[in-house]
Symmetry: D2
Subunit: 280 residues, 4 copies
Amino acid sequence: MTHWVLILSCPDRPGIVHAVAGLLAEHGGNITESQQFGDPLSGQFFMRVQVEAVATRAELADALTALAARFEMVWNLDVVGRPVRTLVMGSTAAHCLNDLAFRQRSEGLPIEIVAVVSNHTVLAELAEFYGIAFHHVPVTAATRAQAEARLLELVQELDVELVVLGRYMQILSDNLCRELAGRAINIHHSFLPSFKGARPYAQAHARGVKLIGATAHYVTAELDEGPIIEQDVERVDHTRHVEDLMRLGQDVERRALARAVRWHAEHRVLVDGHRTIVFR
Amino acid sequence: MTHWVLILSCPDRPGIVHAVAGLLAEHGGNITESQQFGDPLSGQFFMRVQVEAVATRAELADALTALAARFEMVWNLDVVGRPVRTLVMGSTAAHCLNDLAFRQRSEGLPIEIVAVVSNHTVLAELAEFYGIAFHHVPVTAATRAQAEARLLELVQELDVELVVLGRYMQILSDNLCRELAGRAINIHHSFLPSFKGARPYAQAHARGVKLIGATAHYVTAELDEGPIIEQDVERVDHTRHVEDLMRLGQDVERRALARAVRWHAEHRVLVDGHRTIVFR
Amino acid sequence: MTHWVLILSCPDRPGIVHAVAGLLAEHGGNITESQQFGDPLSGQFFMRVQVEAVATRAELADALTALAARFEMVWNLDVVGRPVRTLVMGSTAAHCLNDLAFRQRSEGLPIEIVAVVSNHTVLAELAEFYGIAFHHVPVTAATRAQAEARLLELVQELDVELVVLGRYMQILSDNLCRELAGRAINIHHSFLPSFKGARPYAQAHARGVKLIGATAHYVTAELDEGPIIEQDVERVDHTRHVEDLMRLGQDVERRALARAVRWHAEHRVLVDGHRTIVFR
Amino acid sequence: MTHWVLILSCPDRPGIVHAVAGLLAEHGGNITESQQFGDPLSGQFFMRVQVEAVATRAELADALTALAARFEMVWNLDVVGRPVRTLVMGSTAAHCLNDLAFRQRSEGLPIEIVAVVSNHTVLAELAEFYGIAFHHVPVTAATRAQAEARLLELVQELDVELVVLGRYMQILSDNLCRELAGRAINIHHSFLPSFKGARPYAQAHARGVKLIGATAHYVTAELDEGPIIEQDVERVDHTRHVEDLMRLGQDVERRALARAVRWHAEHRVLVDGHRTIVFR
């Protein structure tokens, strides 16, 4: 008996739930969790089902392929809880890597961090503590293309399914963004769309906001414009300097990032144009 | 075409979703929202479906009755958005009534407040402003039974579906609690199970808590022990006196109560033993 | 014995607290609350003191005037809890007026709403219920100047100290903004600086944010750029339509606005360039 | 020039602030932060001042001793930012130690963890990574007294100023609680006073609460009854099993604990009977 998670999307129309439930029933499946959403704006239907079944992947895949043809459906089938092969990119700040690696080890975050890539070396020690291979890939204006090629090489070699930009601080080329579309998550240190671009905490301080935030989103070629997966905020007041905001912000960043990574790794996030469906 | 909301529960077993989806498909239904939950502890399955269909209530009811027999199912069918006939009980504090009446008028809260019952008269003016009949039913130790009889009379006469205790400040008899089981919501002015019973804000102040809360729950014969529908909190600090906690608490109370009433009125709350399922 | 609240600001330098505390001690004052802040960026010092004293206003004012000369100090002295004369401007949405008027009556919000001004008539009934004079001042492109003149006339006639724009939906002229500088609070229905300008909830929906917010700020000639007093947020998800965001946003708006108005009326807000000091 | 932090308390009466400000002015001090609170119930006055001054500790101490005699004052003087020597006790769960050690290294938490004490060995590796001495002190019913003696020995030998119980899971003897009074912080995994004692997440699940919480408090001989420093909560729903609550709760625990430890280490927490003053 395997515990499967199935996600799918297709143009909305009557009968989809019945057809999916029927397919699963035919394979002796017992649905343990099910969520759906029809977006009236895009006309797309989205569904996530967890089902216990003795059927093999091949049997389910065959049936789903037939169903997909009928409903113009895109689908993905995985085993519940299978760790997603993840590569974390970082710079000098350790809080994102520290948080994700800790949660993988101690809190059942279903990822396996197979590599840390950084343009600095300060994260090497932490990676080693968690038994993760560390790759130092320096980046200068002259070597950016080369560095990105090395990253893609690692992604391929290591069968990386998810790239997490944990305060990587480098802007990716349009080409790399496209290569990683739908499988790269960035944590931006502001409550987007406020304070896009550089030094958001300094911007937030200058504007005198009373809450600071962080935004986890899929990477797209348009900077800080990708579909938002999760946001969170923290209250601040006039006594806080920019340095305080940066420190307090780290908490918000790692919280929002950890949730986004968990939901992605549990196949709870589906992209609907510029927006995300999150079946929590 | 009617927009229906169906809620149901039954012992959990494979095939329920398929059977329900099939029944709805046979009646030309288009599912617009669907949530389900199988409680591994109680072994019960719970489901809420919104469906657009041309079928009549009688047609759907016949089919559901047949299905219910097969699955030992309890179900309820209503029209989405139909205002639930509601009676609000209060004492002297106006914030709960003011909030619910305002939300009914201006924010689409799907209730119709058909009566306000109070053991004081201060809420009469507010009820009148909103065009709601006000019933002054004084309560003393000697007249409690009589007052409760009058309340039940009103519930029957006015076809009341939901009784809201908006800081009513009187303890109901076991008998009345049983009569109103599943259709009476109380707002308790603490984060239950902390500070049950009387003067919770004074208790909270004495204990030096850093957050105060409120709890909306179904009324049961056991005081402050009914299934919790919603809770919320607000941060406080050492500078707050008991009076401040009471004032700040009013905001939390009306927020938690308004959400609980909305979810109940939208048929999003199902009772699972001592706990609630809330399909938000 | 009077309970005074004193706020002051001046260039920061050693000895200010000692001098102020000395002045108050000389007048037999007992400090009950005191907060201060030195802004390292602007070099300004800010202080708020509540003090019980038998001294008259004239005595205290004389002493403060002398002190102010020595420290280049701006100061204001008021009686704790004195209701601030307030004019509320609104359009058709009632939630801001309803909330402020209710809190004035039942929750000790220290304002006295002396007039409601609106370019529509729907708020008249609510104003009447609370015994507040309602002024219908229609606005068209042609009559804007005339309408603003009428508003200023009311502000003068009624000794208005605070103007609250409770979703007024009209852009004020630069001239009017300057006239009301420091004594007009607007509630913007987004988490500024996100979604400035028109239709912020539609913008928020299109961007797929996971939290919506509201911002209470002082009105300045630059639209939605005034010093922020308070912000708050509420979690939303993919199932929410624009209409849901508007409804959920109303709760956030009234919460943030009520806090900002309370803090202003209690003389807890001091302006420090583009930012505010809030001595909560 | 040293940046000092002074905290004090004494019976409330007029003139304290003036006297303290005068003392600091006489020593050429420039006040950078100052907070005070007079508790009307206990009649005690509390104050925290940060002041830049060239005076030596001896000079300030002499003056404060004289002032203290006059006002029956208890006071403490420290250098701003001096790391507080801290001993962390844990069991098998690593999240508290991981969080505190990371914040010490990367986020300027002003503590120095000088030892980790545990009745298990799983935390040894993490302690080693952070260069902290690990002491394995097994505890059985028979050896409890011996284990506590060993702890007190370490506290003395290492000049420990603060003991943090980071999910230590052992009940301390009354005697040890008294020995560590005011310098031991425990994180309880519930929103106290809800769910005191054992297995709070199981209790919370059974009660069907909609928010789970954590409470950081000073250790006293009465179990889970010490003065509360900080509390926080996290929203949960019916889909969460006890294991989920435990995992989600770890986030709340480490957040509340980290804040409490920071405030304690920055001398922002003063005990007022069963309650705390937190000058944030």
